[in-house]
Symmetry: C2
Subunit: 121 residues, 2 copies
Amino acid sequence: MPADPLSRVFSALADPTRRDMVARLAVADATVNELAAPYDVTLQAVSKHLKVLEEAGLVTRGREAQRRPVHLEAEVFDLMTKWIDRYRREAEERYRRLDGVLRAMPDDTEASPTRREGARP
Amino acid sequence: MPADPLSRVFSALADPTRRDMVARLAVADATVNELAAPYDVTLQAVSKHLKVLEEAGLVTRGREAQRRPVHLEAEVFDLMTKWIDRYRREAEERYRRLDGVLRAMPDDTEASPTRREGARP
DNA sequence: ATCCTGTTCAACCAATAGGTTGAATACAGG
DNA sequence: CCTGTATTCAACCTATTGGTTGAACAGGAT
């Protein structure tokens, strides 16, 4: 189970039920029972989902009598956004550069049929 | 396989090999063989990973002789960042609000034992 | 002590994911 | 036409995932 943190977060959010729980937890903390209510699965299944979210660092659990209130920890989101933004930016820069090259090229030198519209005849 | 788009993207990126491929594709398009080189798995395995990325809309494939060059489509990233940002923002706003409430409260009214440090005796 | 509520643990099951090997397809070059 | 290269398809294997049921544990209330 030593999957790296990034993989754990991505894969935790790859499940719609889990994403929905996160969405709801963004609004307010909740107990397992409260969280389970809307879904058509057993409490145990929800408990498992929660464990996944917890291992990904997305939620923490309190203890309050027999309840174990769930709290969203939004900081881990940064792990993802950092990764995403980095490669998105790289890809976009590269695209800008390529675009410049194409724009600077004599009208029909057309290096390879790569996403370019309207080379007027 | 009708998993929703968001789930597909998240789960595509939940694999380190796949993330690494995306990272490399952000720099330059590549063929399956080029992509496979660094990894210690068969070409077929890489081909499968590529299919996952493709179904998630993260890459598209060209056709150029017998090669099928892989191209990163960075736009799908937006799907994720929109989702993430939305709930991160919600969570942060909620935190700000709660913080305000606590700050405005008479020093030891302490609604419930929720993350608060140093209520001086 | 007993009971009720909230939550988890354990064993099990079916479906999926990631990997393998081996055969098939696609196409450029002699 | 035959060969080599690039890639995929198909069948198979194992581990993981998401779900189930049933039993266990924790702690307030009676």
